[in-house]
Amino acid sequence: MRRYLPLLAISLMASTATPALAYKAYISNERGNSVSIVDTETMEVIETINVGQRPRGITISHDGKYVYLCASDDDTVEIIDTATNKIVGTLPSGPDPELFVLSPDGKRLYVANEDDNLVTVIDVETKRMIVEIPVGVEPEGMGMSPDGKTLVNTSETTNMAHFIDTETHEITHNVLVDSRPRFAEFNPDGSEVWVSAEIGGTVSVIDNESREIKHKITFEIPGLRTESIQPVGVRISEDGTKAYVALGPANRVAVIDTSTYEVTKYVLVGQRVWQLAFTPDQKYIISTNGISNDVTFIDVATDEPVQSVTVGDQPWGVVVAPN
């Protein structure tokens, strides 16, 4: 009997490998002052947590144990224990935190303080503020290079992407982009950073070596007024081949071939598409749709919307647990 065990184990593994893995997606509901937790396999809300006022930016520790949430109107970052789904503490974020990014080693959180023109650096373990970095007016988007050496912050009013050295906390380069830049995202090999401009209606692809714009992506949707195309959230697939851009009131997510920078598809999701997050297995990308109060699962293989799930009032940000 013993010699058949490995075969049995392999067949069991094969039979369980096919279904999509179940992860938990955490969605911040800006007006609902809540976080909805969605099971990514059943695509249903499994729990709703009451949180601080005006929750927006949301991220998770690399081990999946803690969700960090910008409670913008409470001027704090809340920590949610994912085992109990309870708020277990706060971080000193500075005023009006909107978006943030965790360092690749998970030790530091970089927070954009929209009202104070600062980026606050927090030591996650000691829960202390390390330094405040003055940046442009109304800082918002926060992107971190995969090696953790460069932080890119966008400032809405100054229309710039500020490149910050994470060792010295100094701004090394300022790149002028289009009007109201909202989000910065590095590609997986760190060679490019993509910056969306909400009013400009573009995504600037910045070369991380020369720190110059190498390409500008524009969007055109037949029958749609250009004012309604407002790029916000940007995500690039783990293999670096596809980028997804949330287009705000155009109610669509643009799919872009990263080798040609051409839009290959516009996926209709819900109203006012704000932010995006991949599931860790890269099977789905989830969009938050602020006005239709739902999130949409897009199948990454086909780029078809497969399911919309109603969440709380004005969903804003989304993060999926890594495990």
Partner: protein
């Protein structure tokens, strides 16, 4: 003498300063750009486009005659009203679809979709024009408050000033300031209305789409 608390005055005056600097930046001969008067945090999208709310088959040109279909026109008026609960409005659409003969089914549902889009888009544009008019009034009021404040300051510095006149001007200043603040607050609420219309239109349109698709299937 009653004066506003220093902090309140400071906040109001900084708002006034901002509005006045915007107003001063516009030369009298310059045409004011609509975006300049738009006081809402959301970027101004003057009109909705059909692809923003419609995910169904292409709406035929004939559907633009929806006003000539009395029943459709009445239904459009009824469904567009925000006081009609959404579930009730959605049921009204389903009942309407159910009542249609197969040969007219899609054609009249397309008319309903086109009617809702045109009617609610127009309503939304009216609301947006109203918001801009209020914003324009605020700029004028800010200018008048600035003048009232200057006059009051020089009056209170004058040792020979008539106390009754000081009292009168103070009350007038406080009244204007309060009006300014109340209007500013109401603009915040009214800015939500275009979004509410857009939200309702999207949900109504999404109720129609599967009814057409079902019939086609």
């Amino acid at each position: 003498m009653m004066r506003l608390p220093a902090r309140t005055t400071g906040v109001v005056m900084s708002v006034l300063a901002l509005l006045l600097s915007q107003a001063a930046a516009q030369q009298p001969s310059q045409q004011t750009e609509p975006e300049d008067l738009w006081p809402c945090v959301q970027r101004k999208v003057p009109e909705l486009s059909l692809p923003q709310i419609w995910n169904g088959p292409e709406i035929p040109e004939e559907a633009k005659d929806w006003r000539e279909d009395r029943e459709v026109a009445d239904l459009v008026q009824e469904l567009a009203q925000r006081r009609v609960p959404m579930e009730e409005a959605q049921q009204r659409i389903r009942d309407f679809a159910e009542s249609l003969k197969p040969e007219e089914h899609d054609q009249r549902l397309f008319k309903l979709a086109e009617g809702l889009f045109e009617h609610m888009n127009q309503e939304r544009s009216h609301v947006m024009s109203g918001i801009e008019r209020v914003a324009q009034k605020q700029i004028r009021l800010a200018d008048s408050i600035r003048k009232e404040n200057l006059a009051l300051d020089s009056l209170t510095r004058d040792p020979k000033a008539n106390p009754t006149e000081v009292q009168r001007q103070t009350e007038a200043f406080n009244f204007s300031t309060r009006m300014f603040q109340e209007r500013a607050q109401s603009i915040t609420y009214v800015c939500e209305v275009p979004t509410l219309i857009e939200q309702r239109l999207y949900r109504l349109a999404n109720t129609i789409v599967p009814l057409i698709a079902d019939k086609k299937g």
